[in-house]
Amino acid sequence: MQAIPGYFRLATSDLRRRPLRTALAILGVALSTTLLLGTVSLHTGYVRALDSTIERMGYQVLVTAKGCPYEAASLVMRGGNVPMYIDETTFDTILEDPDVLEATKLFMQGMEAGDANHLMVFMGVDDRFRNLKPWMSLQRGSWFSGSGSGEAILGYNAAATLALNVGDRLPVGPTHRPVAIHGVFDRSGTQDDGMIFLPLPFAQELFDRQGKLTGVGVRLKSLDRVQAFLEKMFNLPSVQAITMTQFRSTVVEFVATSRILLMLSALVASFIGALGVLNAMTMSVAERLREFGLMKAVGASPSDLFGLTLLETGCLGLLGALLGTLMTAVGGWGLEALLRQVVPFVPPGRLIVIDTVSAVGSILAALLLAMAAGLYPAARAALVRPAPILRQVA
């Protein structure tokens, strides 16, 4: 055992004296750190996941029926029922355009499937789909045979969710027609992992939308021709086009606006956390004025007492910041699940990505704020006058 207590020992020993008060002060700092780090990390992760999703869409322009192009784009990207359709003949017009390198027909419908009635997204595709997404390789089974009627290929996650394998049968569509699982895609890390792919004509027939498409995904020969291509699409009746870049900018702008609001909340939470530390340390110092007087009597200088109290505050701040970082890392999954429920478009993948700079920055910010809150109690401890205090017998 150390015979001469160091400052750290003196500071931390006092934190154990009132465990509930210490725990509450630490929790206050932890919550504000969680909000701060969560906000910073959410933005980083969200933009990264969005970029990855857009990159893996395989096309730069999405052509849909007239309406809100951003709503249509977000529905296509996350998978769901797009309530408006374009005529399938539009696809031929688009494909004939000299600026188009490749295009694919998209037909999307959401419906319950499987024994547990999971809400699944069905995607009608043809061979061109594979040309735009060459990375979509089959983990097992094979691509549709011939017309492919009555066959389905499952995305990686869809196979896991429905617990189905190649050769199994699945009732699909409003009439619950059984389809045979013909293959399972490898994991792509995109929304495609959760989809059930059907041959396009079969999907259109199944959902009674013959000759209709949800959209057309287009890859251009040159990105310099994007604006010209959009103008040509604008002249087509009943269709509109949006580039993935436009979609990204709008979503990122929305996220940035939300981030400002979240940052303001984080600042308020940090202020409240600092007030918690100020309250805990002010009470602690007030209760120990006699002890500080005694310490002066046995040789402590004002700067010793100032440093000792500030070190105690720093320990509170550091413990809270570390706990907050841990809470962000662990609770990030929960926050992501919540976001997926309430936010219109959330890309797949990790949304809260804690990088070293954000983590260290948040810890330092929490620590500095806590120590700033500790300045007043530290000054009060340092300025204690021992003579009047020691006159009071405990």
Binding site: M1, Q2, A3, I4, P5, G6, Y7, R9, L10, S13, D14, R16, R17, R290, E291, L294, M295, K296, A297, V298, G299, A300, S301, P302, D304, R385, P386, A387, L390, R391, V393, A394
Partner: protein
Amino acid sequence: MAEISGLWKSYSLSAETVEALRSVDLVLQPGEMVALVGSSGSGKTTLLSLLGCLDRPTRGVIRVQGLEVQDLRERELTQVRRKQIGFVFQDSALIPTITALENVGLPLSFAGKSGSDVEAPRLMLAQVGLAEKGTRYPAELSGGERQRVAIARALVHRPSLLLADEPTGNLDSENGHRIFALFRELVAAHRLCVLVATHNAELAGMADRRVHLRDGRMVNGGSG
């Protein structure tokens, strides 16, 4: 040695001024144990605070080991307390969250000796008869034991002057005698000046001499 001459201390309480000490003179010699007696409010604690550099006099001179301390800056007063003065209070005033041994080591911690003199607290604790109780926390010790820990803490940095304010006030008669007997041993062993304030006439009789304060004035015994 310590010496005070012409010492005055006034306090302002609301509209009136209270003269806690009035022209007090006192000389303490090395190896001498002096009992400071007087009723409550006679100025004993004020005198100890001034001599211990915890407060400043209104007028007069205080010398500790030949150094005039009444006009020193706070930083210099801290140095005097660290090197020359040990305090014992009525209620022992131990820090409850550290062990008895760590309490004894506290003055060395503030003197910046965390890395050296590590055996001094153990030796001091052994000297007051509590070598086996170093790992106990104050709440785990009896009143007499706590006061002996406080005495060990007051002496661990080898001060020249030990000031004790009613050190037996919270103890029974037997423990009170033990504490005074310990003071006598320490005075002999370390050639200390000990100034001990007490109400107890019997214990005061164990000192080399008595100094009597009444209403802030020294009635007798100021010269050694």
